[in-house]
Symmetry: C2
Subunit: 340 residues, 2 copies
Amino acid sequence: MRGAVLHGPGDVRVEDRADPRIVQPTDAIIRVTAACVCGSDLWPYRGIDQGDGPAPMGHEYVGVVEQTGDQVETIKVGDFVVGSFFASDNTCEICRAGYQSRCVHAELMGAIGTQAEYARIPLADGTLVATPGQPDAGLVPSLLTASDVLGTGWFGAVAAEAGPGRTVAVVGDGAVGLLGVLAARQLGAEHIAVFSRHADRQELAVEFGATDIISERGDQGVAQLKELTGGLGAHSVIEAVGTQESMMQAICSTRPGGHVGYVGVSHDVALPGEELFFSAVHLHGGPAPVRRFLPELIDLIWDRKIDPGRVFDLDLPLEEAAEGYRAMDERRAIKTLLRP
Amino acid sequence: MRGAVLHGPGDVRVEDRADPRIVQPTDAIIRVTAACVCGSDLWPYRGIDQGDGPAPMGHEYVGVVEQTGDQVETIKVGDFVVGSFFASDNTCEICRAGYQSRCVHAELMGAIGTQAEYARIPLADGTLVATPGQPDAGLVPSLLTASDVLGTGWFGAVAAEAGPGRTVAVVGDGAVGLLGVLAARQLGAEHIAVFSRHADRQELAVEFGATDIISERGDQGVAQLKELTGGLGAHSVIEAVGTQESMMQAICSTRPGGHVGYVGVSHDVALPGEELFFSAVHLHGGPAPVRRFLPELIDLIWDRKIDPGRVFDLDLPLEEAAEGYRAMDERRAIKTLLRP
């Protein structure tokens, strides 16, 4: 089969990879209908995360089940499925508490590489959720977002306890931040301010439900947010970047007793204890337990109540994955969809 | 009046200080019945926190109201009162959300110094809670703990979401940690493990409700706790020290999706973002909003349902404050009560 492989910084190639096969009796093989490039894929692409040797890429996916292992019971051949970027059994104590991304049997789909024609999905019954039927083509991009970027933005909003009566701020105007806006709106937030300097992203943020745009960052951004919130800061702040600056901006933007939901994968972050202590905020985040939210998100998409697929502003054949990465790296695209 | 003053590392003196007087019409003056030495007082005593010049000491107190400002309405002369180590109006939006220690008008009682015969209490109506009557002498130590050390341990347990069905771990066997054990028990926790190497503190921990004692620290302590919890870690961890080692021990002891309640005042802590991210824990803490819990804690003490005053193992006249500090510094005492 064909699949995207990162050979070194800036060097993504679509090449022949071995066809996946059932390894464990709990596996399924899917034919990938659509995959995409994640903001987190840019870390190794930019050489900030160092890999050792060529690595298959991609961890977001929707597709049709081609084959199932002997112990797969609920997922059937022919099902159209969405799964999380972490495979999980969905039965262990951690999964049952809603933290499937930290399942005791968790497997990272990024190591499998879903920017490909086919993918092996471990723990298929736990990992995959079938849609109510075969989706219209127009629903595929939105269903694909549920696999990670929407699920992650949604978790950020849930972790930040966005909800009725709350003022929410979003740090980061990438696809996750933008879908954090959508999530906060769905969860009933009253005001949603997004920190953004890019006109196209501001526009999409407003479409998704943002009520205020703040174009300053750092201390000045925090000061502007405080002006909007009677000097107190937001109740809920979604952090969707993962740098020291963005984490501190999120913490400082939150009122005492408020909630920071952080979903940007941390890079070189060291949180100063004293500042954190006196901030008196709640801090929660990490790799989003997307599986917890999948049934709800699929329903919202299926019923056309949300249209998160709008974050894809570049739609390419898999063979052009290299251009998809370049466009995101150069900020010419918010998010690239890849069609095998 | 007489009061304790820190002149430099290791140099606490009880000396004449100016009698306090009403400054704001919302102030009250109390005659201090009992005060005590806080673990956090040891930071400046040890020279780790540097002060500039002599500083009055103490922020925990119970006493009898001697005088009230013109705008004090609910607190009356003659009331026996308990107050938090932060003065707060208890009416602002932050107070109403339960974060009185970060009240928009918060004042730190430590700057006033309650290890003294009298103390000025700002925002008396918001800060002070009157007991149902004049307490028996035997209740005074327990009521005094509500002012900070019990309220702080309690907040740690609440922030860690200790409750029925939960396994709680407590990092730190000082007075706050021990009262964190008591709080977790009151809140209904199923198992309570405390990290402790000191026989006297282990004994008190068991009396307060600890079910397991772990005498290892760091990675080995975490490993022992994991053994007790099916490899998963505790649901709820109370951090009551404030160092890098104790914070990391707390985070690593918590299962994914679990809660760390951290109440040890942070000193030279820098939390590594990546480790925190993948831990997937909830982190909440800071200066305890003791005022939130005072009515409930006073009731529990008044009705003799809890006996947190047991943490005082040294009871001295105020004039012997220097010995009280020395004994805690040298770990000869868990906590020192001072009687003006």
